[in-house]
C-alpha cells in the first residue's frame, strides 16, 4: 500500500512531468514490487486529508508493542494537483498500490512531454514557471520525536533537486541527504550525498532508441531499452559499491501484453540477477527472478504473482472508452512517422512514374501498416483496460527457493477504506546454519547439534494497514 505522502509526491512528479522510470534506482522496480513487496508488520491506521489543493496532512497511528504515531504535512505549489489526487473513496486500487510498471518508450514519452510543454508554451508564456515547482514535506514521529523533512525542487526543465534531512531529539541520528538529478538527452544523471556514513553516489541511466526507426523487427515499435549504472563510496568506512543494469520493456506481439526483462550485475561482489516480469492477463501479473553469485555460486530463484479481482458486474461500461483514444493515438503515431508530410511532398515533386511506383509500394505496405495499427491498438488496449478496470482487491504472493519463505499480501478497498494485510512465513528459519553445516560436513569435530534448524513453518511478521483519505 502506497503511503499517502508518496502518492502525493508521485502526483507532484506527474504534474511537473518528471518521469520516475528514468531513475536508475527504479530500473528493477517492477520485479521488486512483485517479489519484494513490502509487508506491514504492525497495525497501522492512516488518515489523510487534502486541506486545500496545495496542502495535505496525514495522521498515522501505529500499534506495535507500544502505540506510536506520526504527523505529516506537505505543501506544494504544483499546478493541477487536484487532477491527480483523489480520496480513498475515489482512488482506484491500481493507483493505491505499486504494481507492474508499464514503461513507455522513451520517444513516445518524450514526444508527449514535449507536446505538453509546447501546449503550455502556447497557452502560457512562462511555461517554466509551471514546471519549476517545489514540494515541502515534514513529518514528526511520536514519541521518538524524530523529524523528517524533505524539499523537492524542480530547478528547471532538466534538473531536480531533492534534499532530505532527519533529525532526532537525542542527537543520535542527524542525517542530511542531497540528491540532484539531471535529465537531458535521454540520460538521467544523479548525484547523491548522504551524511550517514558520508556516502557519495553517482547514478546514470541512458535510454536507447531516440527514434523508433532503429528497431525494425516490429512495425509498431513500443519497446524501450535502457542501460544504467551506479557507483557508491562510503567515505567514512571506505566501502565501495557499484552495479550496472539493463532493462528491456516490450509487448508480446499478438496479445499486446507488456513484459519487462532486466539484467543486473554487481561486479564487486559478483552478483548477477535477471528478472522477467509480465502481465500475463488482464488480472494477473507474474515475475520471476534468478539470482546468482559468481564467487560463491549461490543461487536463488524467486517468484511473485498478483491476482487482481473485481466485482463482475461493474466492468461492462469501461471497455467502451479506449476505442476513442485509439483513433487519436493512431494519428499520434502517424504524426511521429511524418508520413503525411512525406506523402504530400512526394505527390507534388515526384514524376508520375515514380508516383506510381510509390503507390505500388504503399499498396504493398498497406497491409503491414494496417497490421501496425492493429498491434498498436491491441497494446494500447491492454494498458487502458487495466488502468480503467475497477478492481476491488488484489492478492500478492511471492516465494523464494533459497530463503524458503512465502510472502502474502492482500490489499483491497472496503467502504472507502484502503486495507492492506500481509504475512511472511519462513519454512526454515536459519539459512546460514545450513551453510555452516555444509562447510563443516566433512569435519566431524564440529558438533552437529549446534546448528539445528527448526522445521516448522513460522510466521515472521503479520500486519494490517488501514488507510483513509479525503
Amino acid at each position: 500500500m502506497l503511503d499517502f505522502m508518496d502518492y502525493v509526491l508521485r502526483a507532484f512528479e506527474r504534474s511537473t512531468s518528471w518521469n520516475r522510470d528514468n531513475n536508475y534506482e527504479n530500473i528493477t522496480v517492477t520485479s521488486d514490487t512483485l517479489i519484494n513487496f513490502p509487508i506491514p508488520t504492525t497495525f497501522k491506521f492512516q488518515s489523510s486529508d487534502r486541506a486545500s489543493n496545495n496542502t495535505f496532512n496525514t495522521l498515522e497511528i501505529t500499534a506495535h508493542k507500544q502505540v506510536s504515531g506520526s504527523l505529516a504535512y506537505l505543501y506544494t505549489d504544483a499546478i493541477g494537483m487536484d487532477k491527480y489526487i483523489r480520496g480513498s473513496q475515489m482512488r482506484t486500487l491500481q493507483d493505491a498500490t505499486d504494481t507492474y510498471r508499464h514503461i513507455q518508450p522513451f520517444f513516445a514519452k518524450q514526444s508527449q512531454d514535449l507536446s505538453e510543454v509546447r501546449n503550455n508554451l502556447q497557452s502560457n508564456n512562462n511555461a517554466n514557471n509551471d514546471i519549476c515547482r517545489s514540494l515541502y514535506y515534514g513529518r514528526i514521529y511520536y514519541p521518538t520525536s524524530i523529524l523528517e523533512a524533505m524539499v523537492v525542487k524542480r530547478i528547471n526543465f532538466h534538473n531536480q533537486l531533492t534534499i532530505k534531512s532527519l533529525s532526532s531529539a537525542n542527537n543520535k541520528l542527524n542525517v542530511i541527504f542531497v540528491n540532484w538529478q539531471k535529465y537531458k538527452n535521454e540520460n538521467l544523471q544523479e548525484l547523491t550525498f548522504s551524511s550517514d556514513g558520508v556516502l557519495c553516489g553517482y547514478r546514470f541511466l541512458h535510454n536507447f532508441m531516440s527514434s523508433p526507426s532503429k528497431f525494425n523487427s516490429a512495425l509498431y515499435n513500443n519497446a524501450s531499452f535502457s542501460m544504467g549504472g551506479e557507483m557508491w563510496l562510503g567515505l567514512s568506512t571506505l566501502t565501495p559499491g557499484c552495479s550496472t543494469s539493463l532493462r528491456y520493456c516490450t509487448h508480446a506481439a499478438n496479445t499486446g501484453r507488456p513484459l519487462t526483462l532486466t539484467l543486473s550485475w554487481n561486479p564487486l561482489f559478483g552478483h548477477i540477477s535477471s528478472t522477467y516480469s509480465a502481465r500475463t492477463s488482464m488480472s494477473t501479473t507474474f515475475a520471476a527472478r534468478y539470482d546468482f553469485n559468481l564467487y560463491s555460486t549461490d543461487s536463488n530463484l524467486s517468484f511473485g504473482c498478483e491476482f487482481w479481482r473485481k466485482n463482475s458486474t461493474e466492468s461492462t461500461d469501461v471497455n467502451k472508452t479506449p476505442l476513442k483514444e485509439e483513433n487519436q493515438n493512431h494519428h499520434h503515431v502517424v504524426s511521429i512517422f511524418d508520413e503525411t508530410d512525406y506523402n504530400k511532398n512526394d505527390e507534388k515533386n515526384i514524376p508520375e512514374k515514380q508516383i506510381k511506383l510509390l503507390n505500388d509500394i504503399t499498396h504493398t505496405f498497406s497491409s503491414s501498416l494496417e497490421q501496425m495499427d492493429k498491434e498498436k491498438s491491441i497494446i494500447e488496449d491492454v494498458e487502458h483496460k487495466f488502468n480503467n478496470e475497477n478492481f476491488t482487491n488484489v492478492w500478492k504472493m511471492a516465494t523464494s527457493l533459497r530463503d524458503r519463505n512465502i510472502r502474502m499480501l492482500w490489499e483491497g478497498k472496503f467502504k472507502g477504506f484502503l486495507l492492506s494485510a500481509g504475512t511472511e512465513i519462513f519454512l526454515t528459519r536459519d539459512y546460514l546454519n545450513s551453510v555452516i553445516r555444509y562447510i563443516n560436513q566433512n569435519d566431524s569435530t564440529i558438533n552437529q547439534t549446534d546448528t539445528v534448524t527448526p522445521k516448522t513453518p513460522s510466521p515472521i511478521s503479520f500486519g494490517l494497514t488501514i488507510q483513509y483519505s479525503t
Binding site: 521488486d32 507500544q66 553469485n293
Partner: protein
C-alpha cells in the same frame, strides 16, 4: 605467601578442550542468532514500517556494523607444552602502594588455534542496514556475499614479563615486555596481511590496556565475592591463597583466552571445601611466617625457629614476635598466668572453626595486658606494674612529644563517654596512674559486653565487613594487640575481673576501617622504639643472658641495652 602453579591442568588434553570451550563462549558473547533471520530478507525490499525509528533508536548504536554472519567456531586448539611461569622477583616491602609486588615471566610456546566463521563481504550493505528508510538510497543488486573464513594461528609463542601488584582488594598486572609471535594463515589471502597487521597493532593495546583492566576487574570481583562468602574468621587466611592462584593459573588461563580476540571472560574459580581442606595447618603456619617476615625481605623466615636472628646482631622481622614476647610488659611478666586461659580458649576456638588453622597461641602476644587470672587471684604487684609501665613510657616518649596520657576513670560516667574513651585508649599506651581496677571492671565490662553483642549481631546476618580479604598481611597487629578476639566472646560475663580495655579497640578495629588498622601497627612499632632507638637493637649484648635473652652477637658485651630492657 605461597601459591601453587598447577601443572596438571595443562598436562592432559582436557586443557585444550577447556580452552576451546572457553574461547567459543567468549568469542560468541556478542553474537545473537536473531540477526540471521534478517540477513535472509532481501535488502532491496522497501520495508515500510513506522516502527523503523523505534528500532533505530534502540539498536542503531548497540548493534554496530556486524560483519559476522555466524558464530565463531573454534575448530581446534592445541597447547602442546605446559606454560612456564617464572618468578623473577618478589617484593613484599612496598607498602602502602601495594602489599606484594612481583615480577614474573610467562612463556607459552607452540600453541595453535584455528577459528572459523562466516563474514559479510559487502560492507556497504552492512553499513546501510541500520539507517532509516527515509534517507537510505536504494541500491540495485546490493546483496550480501557471505564468505566462510578460516583463520589459523600456529606457532603462537608468548613471552611476557609482567609486574604483579597485589593490592588491598584487587590485583593489578602490567605487562612490560611482551613478545608475542605467531604464524597467521587466513583462508582469504587478500585479507591475510591486513588482518595480521591489525592484530599485531591491537596486541599493543591489548596488553597495555585491555588485559590489565580485565584482570583488575576480575580480581576485584573475585576478592569481593569471596569475601562475602567467607565467614569473618577465616577471611584472614584464605585470600592470600586466592590471590596467589589468581596470579598463577588464573591469569594464564585468562591470558590465553584473551590474547586472540580482545574480548575476555571472567573465569570464576570457586574454592569449595575440597580446596580449603588442602590448606594444611603447616602451610598456614608457613604462610604466616612469610608474611611476618616481609619487613626483612627475607623469604626464608622459617630458618632457625629457636634462634632470634640468623644474622648476628640483626633482628629479623619474622622473629620480632619472639623478641616482643620477652619484652618487659605486663603480659610477659605475668605470662605464667596467661597460658591456662589462652589454651582453653584455643580449644574452643579450634572447635568452633577448623579453618582457622594457625595456632594462635604460638604467635599471640598480649602486649601489655594484665592477664585475667592475675587479677582474679590478686597476684599482681602494683610497684612492679608501675615499673614496667614507666619503662614503656620512657621508650615511647623519648622520640615523640607525646605526653603521657593519664587515664582517669570516674565511677558515674555515662556510657557515651566511655565510648569516646575507647578511642583515646587505643591511641595511647596505657599507663598505670589511678588505675582503679575494680571500678573499671564494672564499667568496662558492661560496655564491652554490649559492644561485643552488637558486633556479633552485626556479623551474623551480614558478614560484609570492610576488612580486606588479605588481612593476614596486617596480622602483625595481633602480635601487639590481643590476638584472639574470640576470647572476648567466650569470657563468662559474670566475672568481675578486668578485661583489658585494649581488647575493645582490637575488636573494633576488625570492623571499623582499614585505615585504623594501618595506623595501629605504626603506633605500636613506635611505642616499641623508633628512629635512633631502633638501632640499639643491633648488638644487644648478653648482659641479659642470665635472663635467657640471647641477642645478636655474643662478643659484643660492652654495649648497654636501651633503657626499657633494664629490668
Amino acid at each position: 605467601m605461597s601459591f601453587k602453579f598447577n601443572e596438571d591442568v595443562f598436562r592432559d588434553n582436557s586443557f585444550n578442550e577447556k580452552i576451546k570451550e572457553k574461547l567459543t563462549s567468549a568469542l560468541n558473547k556478542g553474537f545473537h542468532s536473531d540477526s540471521n533471520t534478517n540477513s535472509n530478507s532481501n535488502p532491496n525490499s522497501n520495508k515500510i514500517d513506522l516502527n523503523q525509528y523505534d528500532f533505530n533508536d534502540t539498536n542503531k548504536h548497540t548493534e554496530k556494523a556486524d560483519i559476522l554472519k555466524s558464530k565463531i567456531i573454534v575448530k581446534s586448539t592445541d597447547f602442546p607444552t605446559i606454560p612456564k611461569f617464572e618468578i623473577l622477583d618478589l617484593d613484599i616491602n612496598t607498602q602502602p602502594r601495594s602489599l606484594v609486588k612481583g615480577i614474573c615471566k610467562i612463556i607459552v610456546k607452540d600453541a595453535m588455534v584455528q577459528l572459523q566463521t562466516v563474514i559479510e563481504s559487502n560492507l556497504l550493505l552492512v553499513n546501510m542496514k541500520n539507517s532509516p528508510m527515509f534517507i537510505k538510497p536504494k541500491l540495485i543488486e546490493n546483496n550480501s556475499l557471505e564468505i566462510p573464513i578460516v583463520m589459523t594461528f600456529s606457532q603462537i609463542s608468548l613471552e611476557a614479563i609482567s609486574n604483579i601488584f597485589v593490592k588491598n582488594n584487587s590485583l593489578s598486572i602490567s605487562f612490560n615486555d611482551v613478545n608475542l609471535d605467531f604464524n597467521f594463515d587466513c583462508s582469504i589471502k587478500i585479507l591475510q596481511n591486513t588482518i595480521e597487521r591489525r592484530l599485531k597493532d591491537s596486541m599493543h593495546l591489548l596488553f597495555k590496556d585491555v588485559l590489565p583492566t580485565v584482570l583488575f576487574n576480575m580480581s576485584q570481583s573475585w576478592f569481593t565475592n569471596n569475601h562475602n562468602n567467607s565467614t569473618s574468621n577465616n577471611v584472614n587466611h584464605i585470600p592470600p591463597q586466592l590471590s596467589s592462584s589468581t596470579t598463577s593459573s588464573g591469569t594464564i588461563l585468562d591470558k590465553s583466552n584473551v590474547k586472540k580476540n580482545g574480548k575476555s571472560s571472567l573465569p570464576k574459580t570457586v574454592f569449595d571445601e575440597v580446596d580449603l581442606q588442602e590448606l594444611s595447618p603447616k602451610n598456614m603456619v608457613r604462610l604466616s611466617t612469610i608474611v611476618s617476615s616481609r619487613h626483612t625481605l627475607s623469604l626464608h623466615g622459617t630458618s632457625g625457629l629457636h634462634s632470634m636472628a640468623s644474622i648476628p646482631g640483626c633482628l629479623e622481622k619474622q622473629n620480632l614476635y619472639r623478641f616482643i614476647s620477652r619484652m618487659p610488659s605486663l603480659s610477659n611478666y605475668y605470662s605464667a598466668y596467661r597460658t591456662g586461659v589462652t589454651s582453653d580458649n584455643n580449644n574452643v576456638n579450634n572447635a568452633n572453626n577448623q579453618m582457622n588453622c594457625i595456632d594462635s597461641q604460638h604467635y599471640s602476644h598480649d602486649n601489655n595486658f594484665l592477664p585475667e587470672r592475675v587479677l582474679r587471684e590478686k597476684k599482681y604487684d602494683l610497684n612492679q606494674i608501675i615499673d614496667i609501665q614507666n619503662k614503656l613510657y620512657e621508650r615511647s616518649a623519648a622520640d615523640e612529644n607525646e605526653k603521657p596520657k593519664r587515664r582517669t576513670i570516674k565511677l558515674n560516667r555515662k556510657h557515651k563517654k566511655r565510648q569516646e574513651n575507647i578511642e583515646s585508649v587505643r591511641q595511647s599506651t596505657p599507663t598505670f596512674e589511678k588505675f582503679n581496677l575494680p571500678k573499671l571492671t564494672d564499667e568496662s565490662k558492661k560496655s564491652t559486653v554490649t559492644v561485643n553483642n552488637n558486633k556479633i549481631d552485626d556479623e551474623v546476618p551480614s558478614p560484609r565487613t570492610n576488612v580486606p580479604p588479605h588481612m593476614i598481611f596486617n596480622e602483625n597487629i595481633e602480635y601487639f594487640t590481643e590476638k584472639d578476639h574470640s576470647l572476648l566472646f567466650d569470657t563468662p560475663l559474670h566475672t568481675n575481673e578486668i578485661t583489658d580495655p585494649e581488647k575493645l579497640p582490637n575488636d573494633i578495629i576488625r570492623s571499623i576501617d582499614i585505615k585504623d588498622i594501618k595506623i595501629n601497627p605504626k603506633k605500636r612499632i613506635n611505642s616499641l622504639g623508633s628512629g635512633s632507638k631502633r638501632i640499639s637493637f643491633v648488638g644487644i649484648n648478653n648482659l641479659y643472658n642470665n635472663n635467657g635473652w640471647k641477642w645478636g652477637n655474643e662478643d659484643n658485651t660492652t654495649v648497654l641495652p636501651p633503657p626499657p630492657y633494664r629490668l
